[in-house]
Symmetry: C2
Subunit: 683 residues, 2 copies
């Protein structure tokens, strides 16, 4: 029975009409055809892992009944064959929602209208949480396939693997698969334990090579296959455990990059590699161990066995990228900043020492953009899609280095700017990483100059009742990145800080919270144990960081010949917590309407997740990286110029009409000389 | 300048005629074209590793001068451009034979006749030593390619690997290569050390996947690339270090399979795996260690660095094959004798724990034929090519198991027969492996019944002057496989043994060398310290082994419906030393004309070498294995019948007219009962 035999005669008594929603695909098929077979004939996206054996329930459909005038269809109550024993067994054992049928069991008896619910679509769209997310259609490189394999026959000898390959070709069209020693070693046991039925993980990266079997389990495997998306940052490493069946995130975890002990920022790690023989290898070992620990953590949290972790995607800046791969990053430390390899890499995860994953797991390393703009930036570009935007978008991924993208569907530019770790709370006197007890939000009353704070782990503001009790356990321990940004911006708005970044004395600012601190002043943000102060040094550190960030963005705007941008997207775990207003007061970003500044959350991690569940996304990011025009801040003469001009708070380089409409900034001058100097430059 | 622009006008003044020998390819090319460019235009097989830069000298040609009437060609003395500085530098530094030119330097000035010597042909034929060898055209999966890579440019950033890939595509047509972490880690150093010129090893197995870079060296690499062909036998492992440029063998070595401590024969190793948890893994470790040792040995012998060992091919019987791959061989121990995997395997050598090779080296495991007929038999079939024979060929690979092939270009059958290790000197009272001091040749005077022997390591027979001195260092320590076969056959021809295999007493045989030994008799082969005897038990062990071998051959003849074969090829290191006459007297093989019995040497090793240097040979053996009809001796009822009938010496199962014409065998009967019993069966 096939579609072509019925196509010629639309009035054949043995044909029935069938319409699938939401695809709208329709046709006539022979009476008695199963729903799954009809879907395949008509090219309807209906999932199946067990190949139509009533085991996996992935092919569920919801039949509809009644008169559908627009479709010219009348569907009787008995349009499908009666509920059968396989469906009943499945319902009793695992549950089947009312109104659902198994597509491999139900046969078309009369004209039918069938809805394929999202969870039954193989290429269903995965909707991310963030508002500006773009949906990704599931298209993972690794699929779970259930097959029944012929038993060995002494009279026609062939290997178990060869019979498995034949079954995969027959049932799933998998041509000429290969398997490595790890999988081959487990094959015979699985086939016999499963009574000649197995579920296999088949990886096909779509590059034309043979598909690879990366896992094998007896019988029908419940629990699906999993991948891990990892963002290797200079300071923190984040991992997400993602279902390769539906793209859902089952667990996430992060930890400090243990390479920090070799150097806080990228250049100090490159120096460590240069100055210590074997130093690069030491850092490679450290990061790989951390990755294995992290993978073990997310897998344990979600109760997923190691063998089911069949894929990993990796992003990171160029130095992290090279160290992870086991490449000495020394060339990244000096001009011309040559990457050893920039393109996307398809590797065996075991080759990267990732032994917390399945032994045959595959790794996909996203491409780097340039020697200073890494795979993390590529992932951000993939997730935020400026290349598909009609508006001019500025995307800023704030971390130890800021990755900056500027462009639209016409052109896209990228650079990296060495902000240093101040935005992550480092180099700040009371700085700490984002953890319970850290001050993350700050408001300062412009009249009383009294602060209100919020700390991570507590929903209350410090002036609300119960704050002291709620924070008793953690205490108020320091300031994290978003906290210091808000503190400095609020100090500027309250007149505690002037445009040059000078902290005023109590006499000038009118608050005793401004205390002498050596030859300068500091603002007492929280009078606890310990007292938490924002010092003049802290403000200077933030000024350096934000100037670098702004100068990078400005350099790209120069290159594109524009004076303003339509939208600004703040990415990075930290970007998610920055208030757009405060960022703009600080002068981190160019002036824009406040509602045009949004957060994309951890966009690098999102990009890694997209590449994990979608081969199309991999092709996209690879093409995208080729299109991006790279701007090297280290050799651009105007970078220094922009950097200096951006030192003021807010930056003095460009007008900021949007910001001016939102807040009126006082213009104190605690030190006429310094502030005046800035003003002259501005004029 | 390209071929097509000159093709239309054969009289253009700027064209010259060129003829290449031995290919006979000819055409006209623009005057001034280099010989190498002309060869490429005309599809002439002229090698080049450096891509025409006067570095590698692979493109040498021998110009000829004079009147060549048959070719319609007159070649002047100045037909080629004058000897140039590059050629002079090459000659001075490395030597260039008189009459040779570098094809990349010499330009065609007048009509030319150019001979491409064999060593300048990329796909030159490799002629093996054995008489029945078939030549193999060089077509290794891995090639050394020299490229000059663009330097990094900060203004158009790209990875060093991407620029290498671009150079490979431009100069060599290598499309979309990949590289793993091991190669990427060494890339930047090599490019800089080589001043942006490198030699890379590029592996392309021709299966459609991306080519892989498996090695990188600064500048032009002297010394070529190497592969190792390994035959993993139950008792011995043999390795050959083979040049991937010309197929030559630079070193060979062998060692005992360390798995012997887990069991002498295959079934005892399978039992060990069944009875000891972790036993299979233990044997896998043992064989991999041995392989690494062996690879290290051949590499050291030839002075080849580890990084240049970029390929390995592996053959072995199914149990050795599985243990090497890390697969528990337990399923091979009982019906239906299912292989975990039978097809050819393309693997990373590192995945097999072969760390004596280059880190990115590739491994090719030849396909197995069936559960009892392994990749060693497939390699024998590849090397001896019965599938291309017009005559009916019987190929016997004698080892602990005998692999037997029978057929011609019409049909090809295979089986394995459990001969046991007697043919390798085991289970023989004075048996030992083939090593200096072992008796390898035996002659017994039919009149005096006095023996003459030869031992390994000495060219003299024992009755020649100087034998005692020549063997003083080693002594005469035992009998190896070929020695015991000759001894038993000679004893039969001298009337010391009757047709049933009974050793006669001194009174019946007329020699005091026949001594009582328990309830039977033994023949004193060598009266030394220790005395070396051929006991009744030894004869029985050989009878069992040879019966199994003969029964296997006979089973295949039954299956093919033939009563005789046209040619017999004895393979195996041991097969090389068996005298055809003695093998036939013993009844190991069917009757045939003596000159139709030849040795193919270590054909399994030869097959492994062929697969190492030729992708075509890989395709051939893969196709061949699919064509072979497998006969399972363990379940064939007639095998036992043939086995019993083959017990007599010579076998009593079939007439042996050729043997009868060569020797007349006495028919003593030392024990009427036993011998008579045999005779009755024979009638």
């Amino acid at each position: 029975m096939d579609g072509s035999s019925t196509a010629g005669d639309w009035t054949m008594a043995d044909d029935v009409a069938v319409v699938f929603t939401p695809s709208g695909r329709r046709g006539r098929v022979a009476r008695g055809t199963t729903v799954l077979a009809a879907a395949r004939m008509l090219g309807v996206d209906l999932d199946s892992v067990c190949g139509g054996r009533g085991i996996c329930s992935k092919c569920q459909v919801a039949p509809m009944e009644g008169e559908f005038a627009k479709l010219g269809l009348t569907v009787a109550a008995d349009a499908l064959s009666p509920w059968n024993a396989v469906e009943e067994r499945y319902r009793a054992k695992r549950g089947l929602a009312a109104g659902r049928r198994l597509g491999c069991q139900a046969q078309l008896i009369g004209d039918c209208l069938l809805d394929v619910p999202p969870e039954s679509q193989l290429h269903r769209q995965v909707i991310r949480k963030a508002a500006d997310a773009r949906p990704v259609a599931m298209d993972a490189a690794t699929r779970a396939l259930y097959v029944e394999v012929a038993e060995p026959d002494m009279h026609a000898p062939s290997g178990d693997f060869e019979r498995l390959a034949a079954a995969l070709a027959r049932d799933w069209g998998v041509a000429g698969p290969m398997a490595g020693p790890a999988v081959l070693a487990g094959l015979q046991g699985a086939l016999r334990a499963g009574n000649w039925a197995v579920t296999v993980a088949v990886h096909d990266d779509g590059r034309g090579g043979p598909p690879e079997i990366t896992g094998v389990w007896p019988g029908f495997r419940e629990g699906g296959l999993w991948g891990v998306a990892i963002d290797v940052g200079s300071t923190t490493i984040a991992a997400h455990l993602v279902s390769l069946a539906d793209g859902s995130v089952a667990a996430s975890a992060g930890l400090m990059n243990p390479q920090i002990r070799f150097g806080e920022d990228l250049m100090s790690r490159v120096s460590y590699a240069m100055l210590h023989p074997g130093g690069a290898a030491e850092m490679t070992r450290a990061v790989r161990e951390a990755l294995n620990r992290l993978v073990g953590e997310v897998a344990a949290a979600a109760g997923v066995e190691r063998a089911a972790l069949v894929e990993v995607t990796l992003v990171g800046n160029p130095v992290m990228h090279h160290l992870l791969l086991g490449i000495d990053p020394v060339e990244l430390g000096h001009a011309p900043f040559a990457l050893a390899v920039g393109g996307a890499l398809h590797l065996a995860a075991a080759g990267l020492g990732l032994d917390a994953l399945a032994p045959a797991a595959r790794a996909y390393v996203l491409p780097c953009i340039a020697g200073h703009v890494g795979a993390d930036a590529a992932a951000v570009a993939l997730a935020t899609a400026p290349d598909q935007s009609g508006e001019l978008m500025l995307v800023v991924d704030v971390g130890t280095n800021a990755e900056i993208l500027l462009g639209s569907r016409d052109r896209l530019l990228a650079c990296s700017s060495p902000t240093g770790p101040a935005f992550e709370g480092a180099q700040i006197s009371a700085g700490q990483r984002a953890a319970p007890g850290a001050i993350e939000r700050v408001r300062i009353d412009p009249v009383t100059k009294e602060p209100r704070i919020r700390v991570i782990g507590c929903e209350l503001w410090s002036d609300e009742p119960g704050f002291a009790e709620a924070t008793a356990a953690t205490g108020v321990t320091g300031i994290c990145g978003s906290g210091i940004i808000e503190a400095v911006a609020e100090m500027r708005m309250a007149g505690i800080l002037d445009a040059s970044g000078l902290v005023g004395p109590a006499v000038a600012t009118g608050t005793a919270r401004c205390r002498p601190e050596g030859r300068t002043h500091a603002y007492l943000l929280h009078d606890g144990t310990p007292p938490i102060l924002v010092t003049q040094g802290d403000v200077r550190a933030i000024q350096l960081a934000k100037s670098a960030l702004y100068a990078g963005a400005r350099l790209l705007m120069d290159a594109l010949g524009v004076e303003r941008v339509d939208r600004i997207v703040l990415a990075g775990a930290f970007g998610a917590h920055i208030s757009p207003l405060h960022a703009m007061v600080l002068g981190m970003i160019p002036d824009a309407a406040l509602d045009a500044v949004t957060s994309a959350g951890n966009a690098a991690g999102t990009g890694a997740r997209m590449a994990l569940v979608s081969r199309a996304a991999r092709r996209q990011v690879e093409a995208l990286v080729g299109r991006i025009e790279k701007v090297e801040t280290a050799i651009a003469p105007r970078f220094q110029e922009h950097f200096v001009a951006a030192n003021a708070i807010p930056h003095a380089a460009d007008p900021f009409p949007h910001l001016a409409a939102e807040v009126s900034l006082p213009a104190p001058a605690f030190n006429a000389g310094e502030a005046g100097g800035r003003r002259r430059r501005r004029g």
